[in-house]
Symmetry: C3
Subunit: 146 residues, 3 copies
């Protein structure tokens, strides 16, 4: 193992980032299942491939919900990869690093669950917690690299 990953903060970052990618992969699979269950596909060749003759004229609510949850992940979890990695490179306090990484990851997992189940205000709270932690990481790290 490279010495970078031997550092506890970097290791904590790697762990939580991988958990979040696994979570995103679950939403990808759920989107496909919602497409198959509802018979709603994006292209003519998919209808043919799945043997579905009736082309849906409207988007399916379950498919759209899963897609929006994933889109929100792209906007938040993917920027986090860069931010968390650079933050871990600043060799922060391990306690703070763990709170930031675990807090962000758990808030994003709660966000997905709340989005898929249509739970408000839970979704907004989870979103806000993750955003605030991300902003704190950005500000702390900017301060250190200046």
């Amino acid at each position: 193992m490279h010495s970078l990953l031997a550092q506890p903060a970097m290791r904590s970052f790697a762990f939580w980032y991988l958990i979040l990618v696994a979570k995103m992969l679950v939403v990808v699979v759920m989107t496909s299942l919602a497409r198959i269950r509802s018979g709603t596909f994006a292209t003519p060749e998919d209808y043919k491939f799945q043997g579905v003759e009736k082309v849906a004229t409207e988007p399916n609510p379950d498919v759209e919900r899963a897609r929006r949850a994933l889109q929100n992940d792209l906007e938040n979890i993917l920027p986090f990869f860069g931010v968390g990695l650079i933050y871990a490179l600043t060799e922060p306090s391990l306690l703070f690093a763990r709170i930031y990484f675990a807090g962000f990851a758990l808030a994003r997992i709660a966000h997905t669950i709340a989005y898929l189940r249509g739970m408000q205000p839970h979704r907004t709270i989870a979103f806000a917690v993750a955003q605030i932690l991300l902003v704190l990481m950005v500000v702390t790290t900017l301060w250190k690299v200046l």
Copy 2:
């Protein structure tokens, strides 16, 4: 601070990447504000949560504009994280690295402003400058890792 971040090119990369994430977070907040101002939400539970009874039948132009600006960021700024990081690891000339990173970041900030204000050809010029710098970084880095 880890020795990686002590390198000037990596530090310049970290600085500009964090500025770009901060810029993306501003667009995220602007999208939410445009939703609230126009009363246009994505899900039934959001209408209920916000106490808006009249469900919008059409997408709101301001919301869609902010979303498209952010989508364009996902397609350009997120790939840049990997490209810029690997480029910085090749230990390039500090002058070139600074021109690439600052140029890309400033062009992407200009792109967002031009998108939100509907300014053409400014948006296309800003987009093209960022794309050309990204292509140059990809080609230079590929050449070095081959």
Copy 3:
């Protein structure tokens, strides 16, 4: 060159990631060309800028196809950047690393070609191969950082 990039597994990762970013940039250009060819733009200022008077009332199939191919890249190639980088940091067997990185990249290139040409089941097979390799990398890496 930094010692990180001197490691063969990291170098293989950097090479294939850069190839995938180059592939994404090609799809971005193809989307713009499809917009210009079909006269379908996203904003009023683009119609004015391109001198197209007739505003399209429906999305163009070629534009939407290229956009969906790119969206699928965002959902798969961008998370791969983090996963592949952390996996390379675990100093894996070079043979396995090369199989994972080249396999993922070639499957994603095949996915784009199949998507743009409407080829099924080729697209689903390419998608599944890349997903399985990504899951294997996530699981292997999680195991090592635990």
